[in-house]
């Protein structure tokens, strides 16, 4: 019991100092929480960021972002976010994809099925490597969009 009490006391001290150092360092270097590009809609970010359903919806309403569906083409054809283009992760090649002629600083929102899929993240990493500087990942993806009853469309 004495051992645990001592450990908790020391751990608490370490946590407080670590939190202080973390906040001071990131504020001084404008990284992490204090990065100038932390806002979902801010331009110029190089690391893809997860954004919430509210941010996705506000970007959709503003019309400032290009929506990219990273699912298989048959999922895309069955239903996708209105206006979204399909760039399946499988066999992605920027020179042949629908993103070939898109400006590299264009704000792009990538989504896949939902919170448990991974293709949006992997596509975002590939796009970053291909020079796209301003990508965001919809955390809740297609499922959240449908649940919120936001505009969708189908393709033949």
């Amino acid at each position: 019991m004495i051992r645990l009490r001592q450990a908790l006391r020391e751990a608490m001290a370490l946590l407080v100092v670590a939190a202080a150092l973390g906040f001071i360092y990131t504020a001084a270097t404008e990284k992490g929480l204090f990065a100038r590009t932390i806002s979902g809609a801010a331009a110029g970010a190089t690391t893809p960021q997860m954004i919430s359903a509210e941010e996705v919806w506000s970007l959709f309403q503003s019309g400032s972002a290009l929506f990219v569906d990273s699912r298989h083409d048959f999922d895309y054809r069955a239903g996708h976010i209105k206006g979204a283009i399909n760039v399946p992760l499988k066999d992605f090649d920027v020179s042949t994809s629908a993103l070939r002629d898109v400006a590299r600083d264009r704000l792009i929102v990538i989504y896949c099925d939902g919170a448990d899929c991974n293709s949006s993240i992997e596509l975002a990493v590939k796009l970053a490597k291909a020079g796209f500087k301003n990508t965001r990942i919809s955390f809740g993806g297609w499922r959240e969009w449908v649940e919120a009853k936001h505009p969708t469309e189908q393709s033949r």
Partner: protein
Amino acid sequence: MKSLLAHPHVVLLTRVFLGLLFIVSSLEKIVDPAAFAHSIANYRLLPAWLPMTVATILPWIELLCGFSLLFGIFIRGSAFLISAMLIVFTLAVVSGILRGLDISCGCFTQDPAADKIGWMKVLQNSTLIVLSLFLYFSNTERFTLFSYIQQSTPRRRST
């Protein structure tokens, strides 16, 4: 077992190993918190706003715990924190494996293509948990900064 817990050289070796490991693993995360936040978000366990906060603080906890173990300050508290962090990391990795996620661990490098999660990672983490619990239950004060100061103070007075 009791003699092992009090064996100063075994405890020192474990402290140096774990200390250096956590210092090294914290550095890349400190330099690039956004990439680390991305690694955390890949696990899809936290709400979207939380990974960046975690990525701001967690690497500094690792760094401080690493130095604490190396210099023998707050060994028990550091071992407690490291054990707790490793248990949480391991549960996250297991959860990722069970959900079929093909993601990078984010443990030592933030390269999304490297250090993928898998049962080998769980085994590695489990070994580290055993080592950190060993330090938590160890009961030797030798080779620590405090013991060095205590030893050197009377000597200085006598000269």
